[in-house]
């Protein structure tokens, strides 16, 4: 190929790559994904987590003790977590200092992306080769407990008086309990809150939301704050509520409604209290266009319109405060979720570490979990939404999260956040996948509200039989 042909090829390639409109690509920066990275096991370090700083922090913390004895000879435990490349360095640093405290416990670390994690470890569970300690999303745990894959942790907790259970929000532990036994300990735990864009409220000349707000005010304000078109569009609220594990506590229970009943054996979304709220949201989308439609969400290509500065309000987990704090162009505020006629509810949601019942080194696994999930462990790892409430202030300060926001989270967790209404039984994913396409058809105007909710009830009801755990 001569130079002229090479130049033509380059121009053609550039033209091809420019086929898509670039305006939205700016908004839709792809998330950083964990890639192959080399971490020096003798001195794990990165720009974000320098080794010296980690060493200094490690030495400043008091590491707790347990009555479970260290192994007399070398053992290897496998720990499987789902983390990004940045956090993986911090975990490697934790392991490095842990091994100094426990020379006979060798740690083999595994990491898998969240969307592949369950598939990978279900296959391993089927083969009887699970890691000793592994990450667990709250919606997976009951299925694994029912199938006897997980080890109850109560005996180990009893042997560890320093493991302060009162420091962990008790209502958020229900996901990991069965028949009174506890099988998982939360790695993070936070409530959902109402976030707002201060600039957009200032521009509209409206008062910021506060703890006195009701959902009626949210609807009214969302309509008022919707403006513009195309890339200048501002939505009053995002996202559109949908049949998801937390639909009930966030959107329905404040109105006395629920998606499913408490035992997840009956669909209640057609009941008047629930259907009226769903109808109000549908109106806000279809009539007022104050919530991004399915097409508009596609325009934003999985980018949260609130974080992109295109939505005035959103309800989301407190864990997004870390990312919001890094967005210099976004002036945000946060307050409690709005009240409904039946009061205020919010879910306490998070993930956990669990121990495999097949583990051959349970004592060593417990020693690791104990330190990883201690207040010092949370502070070392700088978790943005620590389940241990005593770690909140330190971590918020270190991560640049405003102190009053951290106080708000602690207050909500102590006052009323709970796991009530959050779907967690084995069929939860199938329930959502069954209901969601029907709700999408309602959003597209292909089916009216009453028919959509009835169809959801008709199709989800048989699925719920899978929630019966023997």
């Amino acid at each position: 190929m001569n130079r002229r042909q090479m130049l033509a090829l380059a121009v053609a390639a550039a033209a091809l790559s420019a086929c898509g409109d670039t305006r939205q690509q700016k908004q839709a920066a792809a998330p950083v994904k964990s890639g192959a990275q080399v971490i020096d096991p003798n001195r794990p370090s990165s720009d974000a987590w320098p080794f010296e700083e980690a060493e200094q922090l490690n030495n400043s913390l008091t590491w707790p003790k347990t009555n479970v004895a260290d192994p007399a000879s070398k053992v290897v435990i496998t720990v499987a977590l789902t983390t990004d490349a940045v956090t993986e360095v911090r975990n490697a640093q934790f392991d490095f200092f842990f091994k100094k405290r426990h020379p006979n416990i060798e740690i083999k670390r595994e990491s898998a992306p969240f969307d592949q994690f369950l598939t990978k470890y279900m296959a391993q569970a089927a083969g009887g080769t699970l890691p000793d300690v592994l990450y667990n999303h709250y919606s997976w745990t009951q299925n694994l407990i029912a199938n006897k894959v997980l080890q109850s942790l109560d005996d180990y907790i009893a042997k560890t008086p320093e493991f302060d259970m009162d420091d962990i929000p008790q209502p958020g532990l229900d996901y990991f309990k069965r028949d009174g036994a506890l099988y998982g300990l939360p790695t993070d735990m936070a409530p959902k809150l109402l976030f707002y864009n201060k600039d957009l409220f200032d521009k509209a000349g409206l008062k910021y939301p506060d703890e006195s707000w009701t959902f009626d005010q949210v609807f009214e304000t969302a309509r008022k704050m919707t403006s513009g078109t195309g890339v200048d569009k501002v939505y009053g609220f995002t996202p559109m509520p949908k049949p998801a594990p937390d639909l009930s506590p966030v959107y329905l229970m404040p109105f006395g409604g629920r998606f499913l009943d408490e035992t997840e054996s009956k669909v209640l979304i057609t009941e008047p209290n629930a259907s009226q709220v769903m109808g109000r949201w549908l109106d806000l989308l279809v009539k007022d266009k104050a919530v991004p439609s399915l097409a508009e969400m596609q325009a934003l290509e999985k980018v949260d319109p609130f974080r992109a500065g295109h939505a005035a309000m959103t309800i989301n987990g407190a864990w997004i405060m870390l990312e919001l704090s890094k967005l210099k162009d976004l002036k945000w505020g946060v307050t409690e979720v709005p009240k409904g006629p039946e009061g205020r509810t919010t879910p306490a949601v998070g993930s956990a570490l669990v121990m495999a019942s097949s583990s051959q080194n349970k004592d060593a696994a417990w020693i690791y979990m104990h330190e990883y999930l201690s207040a010092s462990g949370y502070k070392f790892r700088r978790i943005a939404a620590p389940a241990r409430q005593s770690a909140w202030e330190d971590n918020a300060k270190a991560l640049g999260i405003p102190a009053d926001s951290a106080d708000l989270v602690k207050k909500v967790m102590a006052d009323y956040a709970s796991g009530d209404g959050v779907l967690r039984l084995p069929a939860n994913k199938k329930v959502v996948d069954t209901a969601l396409p029907i709700w999408e058809r309602a959003q597209l105007g292909k089916i009216n509200l009453a028919d959509a909710l009835k169809e959801i009830a008709d199709k989800v009801t048989p699925v719920l039989s899978e929630n019966k755990i023997a």
């Binding site: 053609a12 091809l16 898509g20 409109d21 569970a125 325009a299 996948d433 969601l436 058809r441 597209l444």
Partner: protein, 296 residues
């Protein structure tokens, strides 16, 4: 008994030597799972418990599953659309690329480039191209006064949108067509020209019949690939909106690796196998009417 020559024996040994890696791989990694899938389709198994025998339960369930039939409908629509458009469009492109033009090599390279782009990049690119407001296609339509559809955000247009995308990576098909076009003896065109045949007559009476075995090959393999497609659809629409793009491959994936309902997933896989066989058999039976073989 016929004596086998040393040359034939040597050729046979080499044949077995060269074919053995594929054969070993097939037995270890394909034949085993295929047989396991037969047994599993009669069982209920969630990976964690011991599989339980349910007889024809999964098959009965499948026939009564409206989403299964919906996925079949979507799959057939996608298969027909992508094969019809793909075979026609790539054939026309191959005809153009076969012209003795300047920069012919460059054009061929450019047309092949999309085939080497990764699936995820293709999906992201096409999400942009098909976007209702900002996408290239709707902008072009708007420039001639036509308001474009919602594509992947619309139940009616989501499958056509995916069909359009499926043509994108058809570089391999173009290469096969090009090879076929270059294999047509020039003497046939010369004879037709002497008989006074114009461009269209030469194309219709020489090119198309001579290319019909190649077109048939691309139709058969294109259908088989289209009926099994799901990865890009998973990335782009996850089966939505409202199950409009829930194709059979995606439905199988969901039951196997999201719900861990392995028995039912195996049953659905056999349904896909039957679908592929039926569609292929129909094509072979129709082929007698239009595929021309030079030597029979």
């Amino acid at each position: 008994m016929t004596a086998v020559s040393p040359l034939a024996r040597r050729e046979a040994r080499r044949f077995h030597l060269f074919v053995s890696p594929w054969l070993i791989g097939f037995v270890l990694f394909s034949a085993g799972p295929i047989l396991a899938a037969v047994v599993l389709s009669f069982m209920q198994w969630n990976l964690l418990q011991t599989p339980t025998w349910v007889g024809f339960g999964n098959y009965v369930r499948m026939f009564h599953d409206p989403e299964f039939w919906e996925s079949i409908e979507n799959t057939v629509q996608y298969g027909l659309g992508s094969v019809a458009l793909g075979v026609t469009f790539t054939f026309l492109l191959a005809l153009l690329l076969n012209q003795p033009l300047r920069f012919q090599g460059l054009f061929r390279t450019v047309m092949y480039l999309p085939s080497v782009v990764s699936g995820l990049a293709t999906a992201l690119l096409w999400l942009n191209i098909l976007h209702p407001d900002y996408g290239l296609i709707n902008k072009v339509l708007a420039s001639v006064g036509v308001q474009g559809p919602g594509w992947l955000a619309s139940q009616e247009w989501a499958i056509p949108g995916l069909v359009l995308m499926s043509v994108w990576g058809a570089g391999n098909t173009i290469v096969i067509y090009l090879a076929g076009l270059q294999g047509i003896p020039k003497t046939l065109y010369e004879a037709a020209e002497i008989d006074g045949a114009g461009w269209w007559r030469r194309f219709w009476s020489v090119t198309v019949p001579m290319m019909s075995p190649v077109i048939f090959f691309n139709v058969v393999t294109g259908f088989i690939a289209a009926l099994q497609s799901y990865v890009l659809i998973l990335v782009m629409t996850e089966g939505g909106p409202g199950n409009a793009t829930m194709v059979l491959g995606l439905y199988i994936y969901r039951h196997a690796f999201v719900y861990f309902d392995m028995g039912y997933a195996a049953t659905l896989s056999w349904a896909m196998f039957v679908l592929v066989i039926v569609v292929t058999a129909i094509q072979f039976s129709l082929a007698r009417r239009w595929v021309h073989y030079e030597f029979k």
